[in-house]
């Protein structure tokens, strides 16, 4: 389960999540077994953003009945990922103690957030 696509299952699009996306908080349904570190890496890899914080919560599936048969909708995990809206370029200390700036740039939005994104 190290593939980013296996961890991030789909975006959760609701009035609330849509509102929060403008604050840099993007909500996803993620694999139930994934931890915050894995989610952070997956989001950074998929969307090219800098993740500042990951909050997760587990949702227990709901009991559903159809006559005498009872069942359960699947349990799932939700992750609210806060991204850095003003990301600095990645820096590292190069040879001779000089500070180098990596060529890589972070985006400050996840444009794909939405249907079919």
């Amino acid at each position: 389960m190290n593939n980013a696509h296996d961890i991030i299952i789909r975006p959760v699009i609701t009035e609330r999540s849509n509102l929060e996306s403008s604050l840099g908080k993007y909500t996803f349904q993620v694999a139930s077994g994934a931890n915050k570190v894995q989610i952070r890496r997956a989001v950074e890899e998929l969307f090219g953003v800098k993740v500042r914080k990951v909050n997760t919560t587990n949702y227990e599936g709901k009991m559903k009945r159809q006559g005498v048969h009872s069942g359960k909708t699947p349990s799932w995990k939700k992750a609210v990922v806060t991204i850095d809206l003003d990301p600095k370029s990645a820096e590292y200390i190069g040879k001779g103690g000089k500070t180098m700036t990596a060529a890589k740039k972070y985006k400050n939005t996840i444009e794909e957030f939405g249907f079919g994104g």
Binding site: I13, T14, E15, G114, G116
Partner: protein
């Protein structure tokens, strides 16, 4: 936003619009706002979904219809004032060649505009106003009518029935010796010569005396409405109860006093003459106006688009229908009664409608050419006139026009134009008559604008 106008055949204008993408984005936004409650996206209450998600979810196409309507309406209004067009039909979006939030829109609208009028001669047409002369015979005829109206019925006892008398009779009809339905009546006032009864009946009453009982032999006409009776010979047993004769009042001062405020018959005759002259003058005036208008219209060239004729026909039918409603007849019933359908009725109105449209167009352009202006005072005067005519308060009249007084102004212009024509030509008519006269006479056969009253009378007759 830019638009180009091309006026083609039959006054059909084609307006091509090029809407920039910014303007179209605004239109899309408006369209979205309008339909926001309709977009149901899971996770959002109705009316709460943001536009970008709606576009992603449904596609931009859902907004196009309303967006185009919005831009087209706006662009069209602007184009009409920019190119000073005078549309007479509903504009129709003809072709959308390009659309998209990234490209903007290109489309064309087709609309019929008022046709150009090529004015002909409008002054010195050589049309003269008839000077009505009321002859003594006409006054006498009028007097005779009044006399007739004031006639009295005098019972007659000492003579037999004459033509023109009213006989009070009891009667019963027998067919082959058997009474038939509807063949009986008593104390019926039958005026001899009125033709109320079947032919032959009234003649046979002539010469009878009061109290006579006699048989009348008549044959029902072939086209009689009852199947049993038509063409049959029947006998009516008739009893003559009484005879009344019409007595006309003597034409003397007494009569004048009775029917008028004048004391002598001479005065009364004079007043009749003035009244007749007035009516004749008014008629001559109307006639003169009509002739002038017809002559100007006939001399002008205008290509009336079909839409205008159709619109005019619609208006005429509306007028007709509302007039009929007033009399308690539905237009459909009337048409059925007349054995016409809507289409043939429309066709029958076509000529008149074309004529009306042509007259209006020519007069309007003439008004424009003469630069006739209407002051507020004149508009007010017209409103006052209308309020008098319809028995409404001036405010009510204004309210009916919804504060849009252009209709009234047009009316005033129309009249002032006619006044101008009258002025122009009455100055000419003092001169000896020119050879132009026959032209006016030739065009005088058609009916133009001022025929509404006559039409309504026709309807009454036809509907009964």
């Amino acid at each position: 936003m830019s638009s180009t106008v091309k006026i083609g055949e039959n006054s059909l204008a084609e307006i091509a619009f090029d809407i920039s993408k910014e303007e179209f984005a605004e239109a899309l936004n408006v369209a979205f706002r309008k339909n926001i409650k309709r977009f149901a996206i899971p996770g959002f209450r109705p009316g709460k979904a943001p536009m970008n998600l709606v576009v992603k979810y449904y596609g931009e196409g859902v907004l196009y219809d309303d967006a185009i309507e919005y831009t087209a309406e706006k662009a069209y209004t602007e184009a009409v004032s920019e190119h000073s067009l005078d549309p007479v039909s509903r504009p129709q979006i003809d072709e959308i060649s390009e659309i998209g939030s990234d490209k903007g829109v290109k489309f064309t609208i087709k609309v019929t505009v008022k046709p150009e009028v090529e004015l002909g001669e409008y002054s010195g047409l050589g049309i003269t106003k008839d000077e009505p002369v009321i002859s003594d015979e006409e006054v006498d005829k009028e007097l005779e009518k009044v006399r007739e109206r004031n006639a009295r019925m005098i019972p007659v006892e000492d003579r037999a029935v004459l033509d023109g008398d009213t006989a009070n009779i009891d009667y019963e009809g027998f067919l082959d010796g058997v009474p038939f339905d509807g063949g009986k009546g008593s104390s019926y006032d039958l005026r001899i010569g009125s033709g109320t009864f079947i032919p032959g009946f009234e003649e046979q009453v002539i010469g009878r005396n009061e109290g006579d009982e006699f048989d009348v032999n008549v044959t029902f006409p072939e086209e009689y409405h009852s199947e049993e009776l038509k063409g049959k010979a029947v006998v009516f047993k008739v009893k003559l109860n009484s005879i009344k004769a019409k007595e006309l009042p003597e034409i003397d001062d007494e009569f004048a006093k009775d029917v008028s405020e004048f004391d002598t018959i001479v005065e009364y005759k004079d007043s009749l003459r003035t009244k007749l002259t007035e009516t004749a003058l008014k008629n001559a005036d109307i006639d003169f106006e009509e002739k002038l208008v017809k002559a100007v219209v006939a001399g002008s060239k205008v290509n009336v688009p079909d839409v205008m004729t159709e619109n005019e026909i619609d208006r005429m039918i509306d007028e007709q229908a509302s007039r009929m409603k007033y009399q308690g007849i539905e237009l459909e019933q009337y048409l059925q009664y007349m054995g016409q359908d809507m289409q043939s009725f429309r066709d029958s109105l076509k000529e008149a409608a074309l004529d009306r449209v042509r007259t209006n167009l020519v007069m309007e352009s003439l008004g424009k050419k003469l630069a006739i202006e209407v002051s507020d005072d004149e508009t007010d005067a017209e409103i006052a006139r209308l309020s008098e005519q319809y028995g409404l308060k001036p405010e009510e009249i204004k309210a009916q026009f919804d504060g849009n007084l252009s209709f009234i102004k047009e009316n005033v212009i129309f009249r002032k134009t006619i006044d101008y024509l009258k002025n122009e030509d009455s100055s000419v008519s003092d001169k000896p008559k020119t050879e132009k006269k026959p032209k006016a006479a030739k065009t005088g056969t058609k009916k133009a604008n001022i025929t509404t009253k006559e039409e309504s009378i026709e309807v009454v007759e036809g509907g009964e």
